[in-house]
């Protein structure tokens, strides 16, 4: 191809020259990036719970009771509903932490965070009380396949909550020490996702373990 020969293949486009790349560096959206990563963790965690619910489904046939307690004996819908109210109240209190974070009110945010923590602790206390009662009434996890998976579902959810409560304690001190810095803000936002998500999982624990057990 001879140089200088114009084949008409490189006509400039009409209008402004298109911008194909940024000429300078810019700040990245750290918070969104990390929150999406945390959200993907939450979705993988939902697969863990899916596996547990699947096992619960399989181990709910009468053969798996091994002559021991049945779902009707271990899960009281009324007590479960009281637990539901307590947990959702803790979730609501954490929502108010976010409202005060948005308005940059440090002290009210710490107050709501403490409330969310105390109510969350109350929920765990209720669960411990309930499980102690079940164990005392002849339903420890080793009694039957059904009881093993019942304990597994409730305890794994409870461990998630305990970790969330520990996270709240840490955030309480970080807010007190640093205020609402970028790091503290995104951690509080991720904790919100985590805490709300535990409430969402409880919806299924309550419906398919507690309510279904008494049908």
């Amino acid at each position: 191809m001879s140089k200088g020969m114009d084949w008409g293949l490189h006509d400039p486009l009409p209008g402004d020259k298109p911008i194909l790349w940024a000429e300078s560096d810019h700040e990245h959206d750290m918070m969104s990036t990390r929150m999406l990563g945390f959200w993907l963790y939450m979705l993988s965690d939902s697969l863990v719970f899916a596996a547990l619910f699947t096992a619960y489904e399989v181990l709910s046939f009468p053969m798996s009771f091994a002559g021991g307690p049945t779902p009707r004996d271990v899960a009281s819908p009324l007590y479960g509903y009281a637990e539901t109210i307590v947990l959702f109240t803790s979730v609501l209190a954490y929502g108010m932490v976010m409202v005060n974070l948005k308005a940059e009110r440090v002290r009210p945010a710490m107050l709501w965070l403490s409330l969310s923590l105390v109510v969350g602790l109350a929920f765990i206390g209720m669960e411990v009380h309930e499980l102690q009662g079940i164990a005392a009434a002849g339903g420890p996890p080793q009694r039957s396949g059904f009881l093993s998976i019942f304990w597994a579902v409730v305890v794994v959810h409870g461990i998630h909550l305990a970790i969330g409560l520990l996270w709240m304690v840490v955030m309480f001190f970080q807010i007190a020490r640093d205020g609402f810095t970028l790091m503290v803000t995104y951690r509080l936002a991720n904790l919100k996702v985590y805490w709300l998500y535990q409430g969402l999982i409880w919806t299924f624990v309550y419906t398919f373990v507690y309510l279904r057990g008494s049908i």
Binding site: W39, A50, A51
Partner: protein, 113 residues
Amino acid sequence: MSVDNTRPSEHPEIAFSNGRSYLIGYVVTLGLLGISLLLVQGHAMSAFNLMASISVIAFLTTIAKLYYLFHLNFSEAQRWNTLTLMLNVPLLILSIGLTAWMFQTLYDRVMMH
């Protein structure tokens, strides 16, 4: 995507926090599960219909939570969270549903009733 990292409280992930919406979510989700409780305690219908009803109510509760508490939608800030959740749902349904179906038929065929 460029952003001003010096004003974290104005970030879109924080901006949608809204007390009224959290309160509505609280009342609606507790109300829905309360209906489930009343249906089950009152033995309002056959076992199969009860099971179907509380499943539908659990689904509605989930939708209410995702809408009022997680604020999931297709806005710029939430688009990928919503999409990844939607892609995750079939995995949950398949893993739980197929296993349940498989064991139900196994049980019917090989166990003495």
